[in-house]
């Protein structure tokens, strides 16, 4: 698409280079993408919020007003006050502390799941694209099978299987959950990586590199992986909130992280019991979940626009 934005009837966005910008010295591919990202206000808001949530998660012990498991007897389902800014839950624990510590577990799951997904998807997608016809058919049929699994239900089954093993108590039961979510979540990314690599294999610069005698591993590492990166980054960014949702859903039906540990999903579950008495124990974790989810959406949109201007 070579139409200019104005011609296309799209209102110019702040940060999209004006004609005069093109006189400036050329930026690198990534520098250019960064510049476009910085111009996207929503994406930056998202990024800042994610950074705040991540910092809160990392420094939870320092900023939390109380320990997350501390019981303030006689203060069950208290409304927000100075000593308990978000109120307390039915077990008389401080909601703010639990939201902050919950960020650790919720965000942690979201991010760690993406690592598992990335590793499996890179191996499967890469091997399918580069391993020849047989490997390709075999691996793609495998992804068909995993794709057909009803994933949330499969996660529950897998979680039940793993909870009988030594891994069950690792990370308060959370490891099993994110492992299960990762194990079923890689299909789309693997297909994306395969498709991207198949396209790259026949690009002029890869053929040129081959002609110049570059080794296969060098071509893959220097030319193909970096060019696969943009859609992968975007997919992973969108993957974080969806993994957080999945984990929250599991927590909500009582599978997943174990009390007294907190995550936003099991806080919503806990808050549901006394919901007719007070909405606060459910309100704050739900709000944290929604804000984090939106931030990742905005960042993902921004990254997609920044990394691949053609799709705009």
């Amino acid at each position: 698409m070579t139409q200019s934005r104005v011609e296309a009837g799209v209102a110019p966005l702040p940060g999209v280079p004006a004609l005069s910008d093109f006189a400036k010295p050329a930026r690198s591919l990534w520098g250019d993408a960064l510049h476009r990202l910085m111009g996207n206000r929503l994406a930056i808001v998202g990024l800042v919020i994610i950074a705040v949530v991540a910092l809160a998660a990392v420094f939870a012990p320092l900023i939390s007003p109380h320990p997350y498991q501390q019981v303030f007897s006689g203060h069950a389902i208290a409304d927000p006050s100075l000593s308990h800014p978000f109120g307390t839950n039915l077990s008389s624990q401080d909601t703010m502390a639990r939201v902050i510590y919950g960020a650790r577990n919720s965000l942690g799951v979201g991010v760690l799941v993406q690592f598992i997904i990335l590793i499996i998807a890179l191996l499967v997608g890469g091997a399918a694209a580069l391993g020849g016809k047989w490997a390709d058919s075999l691996l793609m049929r495998l992804t068909d099978v995993v794709y057909a699994f009803p994933d949330l239900l499969f996660v529950i089954l897998l979680q039940q299987v793993l909870s009988g093993t030594a891994l069950a108590n690792y990370m308060g039961g959370l490891f099993v959950v994110f492992f299960a979510i990762g194990l079923v979540g890689w299909v789309n990314l693997a297909r994306l990586i395969r498709g991207q690599m198949l396209l790259l294999k026949v690009t002029d610069y890869v053929i040129a590199a081959e002609a110049l005698g570059a080794t296969r591993s060098r071509i893959v590492i220097r030319h193909m992986l970096p060019n696969t990166l943009s859609p992968v980054i975007v997919a992973l960014t969108f993957g974080v909130p969806s993994a957080i949702f999945t984990e929250a859903t599991l927590s909500f039906i009582g599978i997943g992280i174990r009390p007294p540990l907190a995550d936003w999903g099991n806080m919503i579950y806990d808050g549901y019991g006394p919901i007719l008495a007070t909405p606060w124990p459910i309100f704050f974790p739900a709000l944290a979940l929604a804000i984090t989810f939106l931030s990742f959406q905005f960042l993902g949109d921004g990254l997609r626009d920044a990394l691949d201007p053609r799709t705009r």
């Binding site: 009803p150 949330l152 239900l153 529950i156 089954l157 299987v161 009988g164 859903t249 919503i268 549901y272």
Partner: protein, 309 residues
Amino acid sequence: MTGYFVRRILWIIPVLWLISIITFGLMHAVKGGPFEAGEGKSSEAGRAALAAKYHLDRPVWVQYGYYMRGLVQGDLGPDLASQGTSVNDILKHNWRPTVELGVVTTLYAVVVGVSLGILAATRRNSVIDYVSVGFATIGASTPNFVLGIMLVLLFAVKFKFFPAIGWGGLTGWKYMVLPVVSLGSLPAAYIARITRASMLEVMNQDYIRTARAKGLRERIVTMRHIVRNALIPVLTLIGPIAAGLLTGSFIIEYFFSIPGIGRAYVQAILGRDYPLIMATTLLYAFVIVLANLTIDMLYAVVDPRIRYS
């Protein structure tokens, strides 16, 4: 292309077969059996007798053989949780609410999503655009069970417009409103986003300018030229969304006490009810495969440029 689809249809069989093996292996790897632990369960001797009756004392692969023999004859096995009922009975009783909920929710998501998307795109930067983008944003950022809680609080507890739990079938629309809106708003929001983006993209095409230039009325340009082309990418989404809604409704079934298959599945897993786990997994997998196949076929029909090989 017929050959392609015949291959795709035949491929369903090995996919389901592999899924049956994996599921069977996994569920037998879950610690504890259906007749172990828990109150009200039978004595040691009774347990052994039950296990023998259902071949649970045999090696897993022998059990799998028994299961598959029943399956090809259409017998999904006994329901281990309640004596005397079969899994066939359970599915017969439970399929209706799940299908009704899934189909109605898909319709809701598509109708609301597409209308909002079209409105937003044709009236860009107007109040309608902002409202629908706002709806899409909020809808997409709230997990369905949280939305369910909020809707129940507001419309069932406070205003008593709709019942908080239960299911009344297709005629009991009052029971349907809250679960459908809870379950369908996230996909509706997603469809709205994609529709809007796709509309904006199509609006910039040369053939739209041509249509206007030859003097067509704006309504015709929008409905016949823009919307038709813009909905092609939306169509591909409907397959996974419908499959996701049919198979992913269990949390909403659980929350609204809808007697569907999803709720039965969760209970089956927690109770190690092997035959019921197998049946629901295979059924859901079949729905997912079928939904995607249907959409691929439809895709080839609406966009003649697409050729499968």
